[in-house]
Amino acid sequence: MTTARPSPGVRLKRFASNVGFALAVFVIVSPAILVMLWMLSLSLKNDVDNIAFPPVFVPSPPTFANFIDVFEKNRFDIYFVNSLVVSGVSTLIAILVGVPAGYGIAKAQAHKLAVLTLIARITPGLSYLIPLYILFQWIGLTGTVWPIVITHLVLTVPIFIYVMIGFFENLPPDLEEAALIDGCSLWQAFRYVALPLARPGIVVGAILSVIFSWNNFIFGAVLGGRTTRTLPVAVFNMLTFEQLAWGPLAAAALLVTAPVLILTLFIQKEIVGGLTTGGVKGG
């Protein structure tokens, strides 16, 4: 009687292919995790260990001196607030105009307007920066954080609208149609029917837009002054001043990017679920 139990040869083969597969997973994930761990390792070691050769991999004992050093020698508190204001306000504006816009474009099938957001995606960031820089000089906004907030709309508004279009196109239209037949205006159907359903889409769009704004370097680098620069610009400035102080540099890098990495883990499913199919990326 033959049962479902495979022969030893087949089992060995299956075992070998499983081991091979595990190895492949390990190989493709390791560059990502190793670079992140190396950043963590550098930030937790003293300067002697950091420039030792051969390198010291595991901090023993780990020290938080680098993080304290970053806050003592730089005004990271100010830069942190700047980054928070810039990505927060630019995302808030993107939500206010982007939710109705995404709804309107999805419902009206206004593909030409969607193409506009795509062209905005193709255009190099510097080509916005030069004219807006001149404009801000003319109207005297330099020296405040507002020019940075306004230029960040170039990133946040298209990303957010793009996410919302995708979201509203996938929302079943039955409920709104029922509302329209019951005599709701288009605005009411949007406000009381579609908007409450759009919450998850808004959350994902907002997180992506905050991340891309938070990560942006070039706008803040050109438009930010001593007190208005954002975190990535502040970290870049540390590089030019502290050549071989790797501990504080890595600590600063980690401080900037840790909030983003944590947010990413939260919306990991949505990112994988195809939001990036259109190539959402700031730039």
Partner: protein, 308 residues
């Protein structure tokens, strides 16, 4: 009476709104778009138009501007540094498209399988593309250090002599490409993974009945079906690689010398180090045209791949 007629009108307009759904453009929804349109006009369309205007002027910040017609554009054709930067950009872009597309496709095939902790591994895999570019660039700068960097130590373990990485004109662009590959392979993986998820199961079943091997099924079913997604990933990767700025600027600023100076880096220097706003605007337009043309070429190739 009037109440009834307003109700009638309401129903009629609602019915019209419902019936005009579907294919075609519905004007009634335009007001929803207006606020976003105003912002888009201000921060996106206005800069485009103003860039065109500036490109016809000899315009240096802090100096009087002077209309020069197409002089900025003719100057570009004789600017050796600009022409050199085009070469660097194309070299960088070619590598930074092909390698992530290959690695990303392989990674997508792996993540398309079911295995324990897949979600966690996938989350770790996509972390690089979300990480702050300046932070990423800083860590790689330290890793590239010729005497103390961890990369040369790792090479020494397998008996390869130490490299100069970004400190040598010969290896600077491939080294920067390594950072770019690390940074953006996840985006390719996600796009191709989306394609793999949409594959039908029937062709595989009939192929299995016909006794096809795993490789044959991949080569003749999977690959042709996900080709459109791979090409989309290639187009997006090309646009981003042409525009790459942050990591190059932080790690080398175009150096050593001008060995890694791409169009975008040279453009930045012209605009915000030399303050030649007019000249930089002309360069922006040529750069933008280059991006559009290369994108259209790739999209044309994609279209062709679809028909054959």
């Amino acid at each position: 009476m009037t109440e009834a007629s307003t109700l009638e009108r309401k129903v009629a307009s609602a019915a019209k709104a419902v019936s005009t759904r579907g294919p075609g453009f519905d004007r009634n929804y335009l007001p929803f778009v207006y606020p976003a349109l105003i912002i888009t006009l201000a921060v996106i369309v206005f800069p485009w138009i103003f860039t065109i205007y500036m490109s016809f002027y000899d315009w240096k910040i802090g100096h009087a501007r002077e209309f020069v017609g197409f002089a900025n554009f003719t100057k570009l054709t004789t600017d050796a540094r600009f022409i050199e930067s085009i070469g660097h950009t194309l070299y960088f872009t070619a590598l930074a498209v092909v390698l992530p597309v290959i690695f990303g496709t392989i990674a997508a095939l792996i993540f398309n399988e079911r295995f324990p902790l897949r979600g966690l591994f996938r989350a770790i895999f996509i972390l690089p593309m979300m990480a702050t570019p300046v932070a990423v660039a800083l860590v790689w700068t330290m890793m590239f250090h010729p005497q103390l960097g961890v990369l040369n130590y790792l090479l020494s373990l397998v008996g390869i002599p130490p490299q100069l990485w970004v400190y040598s004109p010969e290896t600077v662009i491939p080294s920067l490409v390594a950072v770019e590959v690390w940074h953006w392979t996840p985006l390719v993986m996600l796009i191709v993974l989306g394609g793999l998820a949409s594959l039908p199961t029937e062709p595989y079943e009939s192929a299995r009945i016909d006794g096809a091997s795993a490789w044959q099924m991949f080569r003749h079913i999977t690959l042709p079906l996900i080709m459109p997604f791979i090409l989309v990933a290639g187009v997006i990767r090309m646009i981003d690689a042409l525009k790459a700025f942050d990591t190059i600027f932080v790690i080398t600023s175009g150096g050593p010398g001008t060995a890694s100076e791409t169009i975008n880096i040279y453009l930045y220097l012209q605009a915000f180090s030399f303050y030649n706003i007019g000249y930089a605007s002309a360069m922006t337009m040529v750069f933008f045209a280059l991006i559009i043309v290369l994108t259209l070429v790739l999209l044309y190739l994609r279209q062709k791949a679809k028909w054959t």
